[in-house]
C-alpha cells in the first residue's frame, strides 16, 4: 500500500509542500497573533519548518546517517553532514534568541503590565 509514496521524487514533494504549509502556519500566526508568547511560538514554528525543509530535501532514503559504525562504512552512501551541522547550529541560535525575547517580554510586562505587541506604545508622544 502507498508504494508510490516511497519514490525519492515524491518524498521531496511531500517534504516541500509539508514544510511550506508549516511555514505558512507560522507566518499566519506571526501576522495575526498579538501575545508575545504566541509571536515567539510562531517564529519557532517557522524555524522548525525551514529545518525540516532543508534536512528533508537533502535526505536520500538509500543512504545512511553520516556516522561510521559497524556495517555502515561506505562513505559514498552517506547523507550529507553539512546540513545537519548547519541545522544543529541554527537550532541552538534560534533557541537563544527566543529565550532572550521571552525574558525581555517578562521584564516589559513587569514594568508596564502589557503582554500584547499591538499595545507597545511607550514611544508615541
Amino acid at each position: 500500500m502507498f508504494e508510490y509514496l516511497n519514490q525519492a521524487e515524491v518524498i521531496k514533494y511531500i517534504v516541500t509542500i509539508g514544510s511550506m504549509t508549516l511555514f505558512f502556519v507560522g507566518l499566519f500566526g506571526l501576522l495575526t497573533q498579538k501575545h508575545f508568547i504566541k509571536i515567539f511560538i510562531s517564529i519557532a514554528t517557522m524555524e522548525t519548518a525551514l529545518f525540516l525543509f532543508f534536512i528533508g530535501n537533502m535526505f536520500n532514503k538509500d543512504f545512511t546517517a553520516p556516522i561510521i559504525s559497524e556495517g555502515f562504512t561506505d562513505i559514498a552512501k552517506m547523507n550529507d553532514p553539512i546540513p545537519h551541522a548547519m541545522i544543529l547550529t541554527a537550532i541552538v541560535i534560534g533557541m537563544a534568541v527566543l529565550a532572550l525575547g521571552v525574558s525581555m517580554s517578562i521584564e516589559y510586562y513587569k514594568l508596564t503590565g502589557n503582554t500584547e505587541i499591538d499595545k507597545m506604545n511607550e514611544m508615541r508622544h
Binding site: 508575545f36 509571536i39 517564529i43 532543508f54 547550529t89 534568541v97 532572550l100 525581555m104 505587541i117 511607550e122
Partner: protein, 483 residues
C-alpha cells in the same frame, strides 16, 4: 600578522571577563579599552602597508571557513575599531558621572559587537556570515534595552522580533543556496549563481533582500528603526549608526556584487534606495524629538549609501565609501553631543537646543551637521558630489532628482536645528565637558575637516578599495584558486 586576531581577541576578552573582573572593578574596562586600542593600532599598521591575505580556519577555503582581508575590508575594520575605541574612551569619562549598572556586562557586549561586525566584514562563508549576523543582532538587542526602562525594553523587543524574522529569511536563502549549489563559500556560490534557473535566482535574491533589508534599514522594512533609536540610550545609538548598520550594509553589497554583478536587480535597488531616502527625509521634517529626528536622518543617509553601493561602478562605490566614513564620524559626534545634552538638560526636545550653552558643543555639532548635509569643505561633500555625478553619468536622472529633493528636505530640518542652536535666548549655565571627551570630539571633527578639505589625499586609497570591492574575478581566484 594574522587577521583572525581582529575576531579572536574581542571574543577572548568577552569570554574571559569574569576572570578579569577578579582583578578589581576597573580591570575589565581598562583592559578591554586597551585591547581595542591595540586592534586599532594593528588595523592602521596594516592600512599603511599593502596587505591582502586569506586567513584559513581549520581547512582550505572552498570547503572550510576563511577570512579575506583586503584593502576594502580593512577600511571597514579600521573604521569599526576606531569607533569602538573612541566609544570606550568616551565611556571611561562618562562613567565618572553616570556609570551603567553592570559595567562588565556592558563591555562584554561591546567586545562581542566589535567581533561580530568585523567578522561580518571579513568572512567569506555565507553560513558564517549568518552566525555573525546573529551575534551582532543579539548584542544590539541587549544594548538597546540595557537601561531596562519601559521604552528601552520596547525598543529591544521590537528590534528582537524584527531581527528574528530577518534571520529566518536569511536562513531560508542560505538553505536554498546550499541545496542548489552545494557550497557555502561565497566564491563558489558566485561562480555557480549565474547557471541557476531564473526562478531560483529570483527567490534567493528576494529572500536575501528581505533578510538583509530589515538590517540595512531599507524602506518598507525600516518601520522599527526609529522606535529603537528613540528607546535606546543616546550613547548606544552612536554605535548603532556608526558600526552596526555599516557592517550589514557592507556585507549585503559584498554578497550582491558577487552573486548579481549586473542587471535589473541593481536598478531595482537604486530606485529602492532613492525612495527610502525620500521617505525618511519627509518623515524627518515633522519630528520634534532630537533622537527621532537624527534617527530619520540616519535612515536617509543609509539609503543614500545604499543607492551609491547599488550603482556598482567604481565612482559610486568610492562615493559610498566616503559617505560611510563621513556619516559614521558625524553621527558619532552628534550622538555623543546629544548624550552630553541629555545628561544635563534631561530632555530631548529640539527646542532644548536653544538653551544649549556650550560654544564647544555647538561648534562640534555644527561641523557634524554641515558634513551630513554635504556642504563643501566638509567630509560629506565629496561623497554626495560623487554620487550625484555618477548618477548623472549613468543616466538615472529620476533618481538624481529624488535624491536632490531629499537632500533639500534634509537641509530644511538641519538648518532649523542650526537656527535653534544659534538663537539668542535664555541660556542655561555652561555645560562642562570632560577633557577626554573634548579630545575625542576634536579628533573626530578634525578628521571630518581633513577629508573635506583634502579629499584627493584619500582618493588613491578609496579608488583602490572600490575597484577591489567590485573585482569579483580576483576575489574568486584568491579563494578557490583556478577551479
Amino acid at each position: 600578522m594574522s587577521s583572525i586576531l581582529f575576531i579572536a581577541l574581542p571574543l577572548l576578552f568577552g569570554f574571559s571577563t569574569p576572570i578579569l573582573n577578579k582583578f578589581g572593578k576597573n580591570a575589565v574596562v581598562y583592559s578591554s579599552t586597551s585591547m581595542q586600542a591595540f586592534l586599532l593600532y594593528l588595523a592602521f599598521t596594516l592600512l599603511s602597508g599593502n596587505s591582502s591575505h586569506i586567513e584559513v580556519i581549520s581547512i582550505a577555503p572552498p570547503l572550510g571557513i576563511s577570512f579575506v582581508l583586503n584593502s576594502v575590508s580593512l577600511l571597514f575594520v579600521a573604521l569599526f575599531t576606531l569607533m569602538m575605541t573612541l566609544f570606550s574612551l568616551y565611556y571611561l569619562s562618562h562613567r565618572k558621572t553616570k556609570p551603567y549598572k553592570n559595567e562588565t556586562k556592558f563591555f562584554i557586549l561591546l567586545n562581542m559587537l566589535l567581533a561580530a561586525s568585523i567578522g561580518l566584514v571579513l568572512s567569506s562563508d555565507i553560513f558564517n556570515i549568518y552566525v555573525f549576523f546573529e551575534i551582532a543582532g543579539i548584542s544590539a538587542y541587549i544594548l538597546s534595552s540595557y537601561e531596562k526602562t519601559p521604552s528601552a525594553l520596547e525598543a529591544g523587543l521590537k528590534y528582537l522580533i524584527t531581527g528574528a524574522v530577518a534571520s529566518l529569511f536569511l536562513v531560508f536563502a542560505i538553505v536554498l543556496i546550499y541545496m542548489n549549489l552545494g557550497s557555502l563559500n561565497l566564491a563558489v556560490i558566485a561562480q555557480g549563481f549565474e547557471t541557476l534557473a531564473f526562478n531560483t535566482k529570483l527567490l534567493i535574491s528576494v529572500l536575501l533582500l528581505i533578510g538583509f533589508g530589515f538590517k540595512v534599514e531599507i524602506f518598507p522594512l525600516n518601520f522599527w528603526v526609529v522606535d529603537v533609536y528613540e528607546g535606546s540610550s543616546t550613547l548606544v545609538n552612536s554605535l548603532f549608526s556608526s558600526i552596526v548598520v555599516k557592517a550589514y550594509l557592507f556585507v549585503f553589497f559584498h554578497i550582491v556584487y558577487l552573486f548579481l554583478p549586473s542587471g535589473e536587480f541593481s536598478v531595482f535597488l537604486i530606485y529602492l534606495g532613492a525612495l527610502s531616502m525620500l521617505a525618511a527625509e519627509i518623515a524627518g521634517l515633522r519630528q520634534t524629538n532630537l533622537k527621532r529626528l537624527f534617527a530619520y536622518s540616519s535612515l536617509g543617509q543609509v539609503a543614500l549609501i545604499f543607492t551609491a553601493f547599488a550603482m556598482q561602478n567604481i565612482d559610486a562605490v568610492q562615493a559610498a565609501l566616503f559617505i560611510v566614513v563621513a556619516h559614521s564620524i558625524a553621527k558619532f559626534i552628534i550622538f555623543l553631543a546629544l548624550t552630553n545634552i541629555e545628561k544635563e538638560y534631561k530632555s530631548m526636545d529640539i527646542t532644548r537646543l536653544k538653551e544649549l550653552n556650550s560654544p564647544f558643543l555647538r561648534a562640534m555639532m555644527l561641523i557634524a551637521m554641515l558634513s551630513l548635509l554635504g556642504i563643501p569643505l566638509f567630509a560629506g561633500f565629496i561623497g554626495k558630489f560623487l554620487v550625484l555625478k555618477s548618477l548623472a553619468v549613468s543616466g538615472f536622472i529620476g533618481v538624481l532628482v529624488l535624491i536632490i529633493i531629499a537632500s533639500l528636505l534634509e537641509s530644511v530640518y538641519y538648518f532649523k536645528l542650526i537656527g535653534f542652536m544659534f538663537t539668542k535666548g535664555e541660556k542655561r549655565e555652561v555645560l562642562k565637558i570632560d577633557f577626554i571627551q573634548k579630545l575625542i570630539f576634536i579628533i573626530l571633527s578634525f578628521a571630518l575637516l581633513l577629508i573635506g578639505i583634502v579629499p584627493f589625499f584619500f582618493s588613491g586609497f578609496s579608488h583602490e578599495s572600490a575597484s577591489i570591492m567590485l573585482d569579483n574575478a580576483s576575489y574568486i581566484l584568491n579563494l578557490v584558486g583556478g577551479r
